[in-house]
């Protein structure tokens, strides 16, 4: 046992002291924040830009339809005529809207054209469209002589108050957020398994190429060495994850304070339903709502299931990686063995992203129980709430598989580390199992 501890310590320190580990751990969260800041910054920059749209209204009915709104200014060029207005717009303005003269309003609605130098932005187009629709609608109401008050009386707005049976509020933003959280965690586990699995493999290959392997295994059992390597790397992975979570938590807290949701968070335990209601009603509070929803996520469950599924998935895959590392002499030889390993992971990611659309369907269930894909798929489902029996079945299957996989990998590892020279075939590796 003491020896295993020594090996774990060495492997852990070798990984953690590595410059790339330190850079990745500290820089990654900062880079994510920087990226988001950049996106927000660019968005704001975009919003500041004022677009001037000219219009020629030959029907003379829409002159008052266009009010300047955020970022868009309207200029009436009807007096210039189409030809001149086109020339002028080409030079000075964002685009030219041409409303032809017709007698029938229904005909008009299909004959309005927008000219511009570049492809017009979708938001601008739809804003113009809605303005026109509103105006045409009003015109039609007048034309048909319908009582405006009656129409107003018909209009209804429905806001569904979604709530699950245990009384938790859920909202649209909430489920989008769950998709992001699930997808993010699933993807994170995918990355972690590949990064740390490869790291185990590299470490095995390093011991082979530096020829220290025989020195070491004259002191310890190959199984101890392999497990020490796997556990040491896993600890480095968990450390990295925790550091990220802490940095993420601090950043979230900072943002929360900055946008003034602070008092909500302090009393989140008795978060008043009225407050949620109030927030949902005020449309300007999107960000606050998101922050509130983040607090509503089963963060603790997600954190612990990340650790459990990372460990389980990682143990399965890293033992395969260790066996591959033992079987070959250099990293370039690993290609033919990597494909079958990466396959289930990639499938899991694809399935996972379709699963978050329907987190409780049969595909979701199947892939979140199958141990080679469950770490990713289950983690993507967890934010949506997963029944306990599924979680327990999935974790048990995971544990059984990793025990089997470690046993299997240890057999290959034991023989492989002492083999030099030729690259083995699958057939040969199969033979090693029986040595």
């Amino acid at each position: 046992m003491d020896k295993l501890k020594l090996i774990i310590k060495r492997e852990f320190l070798a990984k953690v002291k590595n410059k790339s580990f330190i850079v990745m751990t500290i820089l990654s969260p900062l880079m994510v924040v920087a990226l988001f800041s950049l996106i927000i910054f660019l968005n704001e920059k975009n919003a500041e830009e004022i677009r001037t749209i000219a219009f020629v209204d030959e029907s003379q009915q829409f002159t008052d339809a266009f009010e300047d709104s955020d970022g868009v200014k309207y200029i009436n060029l009807t007096s210039l005529g189409i030809v001149e207005a086109r020339e002028k717009t080409k030079e000075f303005y964002y685009g030219l809207l041409v409303i032809p003269k017709t007698d029938s309003l229904s005909e008009l609605s299909n004959n309005i054209t927008f000219f511009s130098n570049d492809t017009p932005s979708l938001t601008v187009l739809s804003s113009i469209e809605s303005k026109l629709e509103k105006k045409i609608r009003n015109l039609k109401i007048a034309e048909l002589q319908i009582d405006v008050d009656k129409i107003k009386a018909i209009e209804t707005t429905v806001t569904i108050d979604a709530e699950n049976f245990s009384g938790e509020k859920s909202s649209k933003i909430g489920s989008v957020l769950r998709m992001f959280a699930g997808g993010g965690f699933g993807y994170l586990i995918f990355m972690f398994i590949i990064i740390y699995g490869t790291s185990v493999m590299r470490s095995v290959i390093e011991e082979k190429t530096s020829r220290i392997i025989e020195v070491i295994i004259s002191s310890v059992k190959p199984f101890q060495l392999m497990m020490g390597k796997i556990i040491g790397n896993a600890m480095a992975g968990i450390l990295q994850f925790i550091i990220w979570m802490v940095i993420g938590g601090i950043l979230l807290f900072a943002i929360t304070l900055y946008f003034g949701v602070g008092d909500v968070s302090s009393s989140s335990a008795q978060m008043a339903p009225e407050m949620v209601q109030q927030m949902q009603n005020s449309s300007n509070n999107d960000l606050q709502l998101i922050l509130l929803e983040i607090k509503n996520l089963p963060i603790l469950t997600m954190f612990f299931s990340f650790i459990i599924y990372f460990l389980g998935g990682y143990l399965i895959y890293s033992s395969i990686y260790a066996a591959i590392g033992a079987a070959v002499d250099s990293e370039t030889d690993t290609q033919q063995f990597m494909m079958p390993v990466l396959m289930p992971l990639v499938i899991a990611i694809y399935v996972g992203f379709s699963v978050i659309e329907n987190p409780h369907g049969p595909i979701a269930l199947a892939f979140s129980l199958f141990p080679l894909t469950s770490p990713i798929v289950m983690l993507m489902r967890i934010p949506f709430g997963v029944p306990w029996w599924q979680l327990i079945t999935s974790i048990s299957l995971l544990i059984v598989t990793f025990i089997g996989m470690v046993w299997f990998a240890a057999k290959i590892y034991r023989v492989g580390i002492l083999m030099y020279g030729k690259k083995p075939s699958y057939k040969e590796i199969y033979k090693w199992l029986k040595y």
Binding site: K3, I212, E214, V215, I216, S218, S219, Y420, Y435
Partner: protein, 309 residues
């Protein structure tokens, strides 16, 4: 028993390939035991079994009359032929790690390492990484790592490869020192002159079978062919030659000397003794040189392997 190690009827197969076939050897305490054999004969397989890196299919290994057990590894020091160290780890850190894997405590390991580093005058390497050292320097560290836990059985597989002659000599002296301090040493090499110089016992393995073992002295006795090399001074070489070849089976020696007129190789028949030969020659010429021809380990090796296959 005075054997530090006994290997009894050990066999090992890899699939259909037999690496060792019923091999037995005994290594006496305080001796240097040469394990010889052509490439692929099974030496490394045997050494790995002794180090518990692999298990034998059948047969038993005893260390100090106890069946080999996992805790025995702390009594064995092994310098493999395929050897190396972690390239990006510091020398001191690495040596401490390997010492602790052998079961030493950290303090004990530090003390021992200090002793060896001072002995080899390499104390200033402690914080260097292996990749900053030359190959020979790294080999010195490797040697220290092998012997630092004062094992009672040391196994050296081609210990001199990678050393320049000066350092090879240093290592050789250290090996002899360790033997004198009571360690027993298994020595696997292709450098026959070092076997000749250092080994007390040898075993020869060829094609998975042990074909020869015993005290080096006894084996040499066993392989000698009753040949004598003689140098003679005489005024009449022709006549002397004729007289000699009438009496003995003789040929010209391959070595020549400036001191004598004739350098001959006598092969004595059964019943003839060196005493007879000296008496015969003494009457006819002046003897300048007289030695019994003892076969070299190299000759024994080549002869045994040839007759085995």
């Amino acid at each position: 028993m005075n054997n530090v190690l006994r290997v009894e009827n050990v066999s090992k197969n890899y699939g259909s390939f037999t690496a060792l076939n019923n091999v037995s050897i005994s290594v006496p305490k305080g001796s240097i035991f040469g394990l010889l054999g052509p490439n692929g004969a099974g030496k490394t397989s045997l050494i790995r079994i002794i180090n518990q890196i692999t298990l034998p299919d059948s047969g038993t290994v005893y260390l100090d009359d106890e069946i080999l057990q996992p805790h025995h590894i702390q009594y064995i020091g092994y310098l493999p032929e395929e050897r190396g160290l972690y390239k990006s780890m510091k020398v001191g850190e690495q040596a401490l790690y390997l010492a602790q894997l052998k079961g030493m405590s950290k303090d004990e390991a530090k003390k021992k390492l200090k002793y060896w580093f001072e002995k080899f005058e390499i104390t200033d390497w402690w914080n260097k990484k292996i990749q900053e050292l030359s190959k020979g320097m790294a080999q010195k560290v490797q040697f220290i790592v092998t012997v630092m836990h004062s094992p009672k059985l040391l196994i050296f597989d081609e210990p001199f490869s990678g050393f320049d002659p000066i350092n090879a000599n240093l290592i050789k002296d250290e090996i002899l020192n360790l033997r004198n301090e009571g360690a027993s040493i298994i020595f696997s090499t292709h450098r026959m002159e070092s076997v000749e110089e250092m080994c007390d016992y040898i075993a020869l393995i060829n094609k998975s079978n042990k074909i020869l073992d015993g005290k080096l002295k006894d084996i040499k006795q066993q392989f000698k062919t009753n040949q004598y090399e003689v140098g003679l001074l005489s005024e009449n070489k022709e006549m002397l030659s004729n007289q000699i070849s009438a009496q003995f089976s003789v040929e010209n020696s391959k070595t020549t000397s400036f001191n004598d007129d004739l350098r001959l190789l006598f092969s004595l028949k059964n019943g003839e003794t060196s005493k007879d030969l000296i008496e015969f020659l003494n009457n006819k010429a002046q003897i300048t040189h007289f030695t019994e021809v003892i076969p070299s380990v190299n000759d024994i090796f080549l002869k045994s392997v040839a007759s085995n296959s």
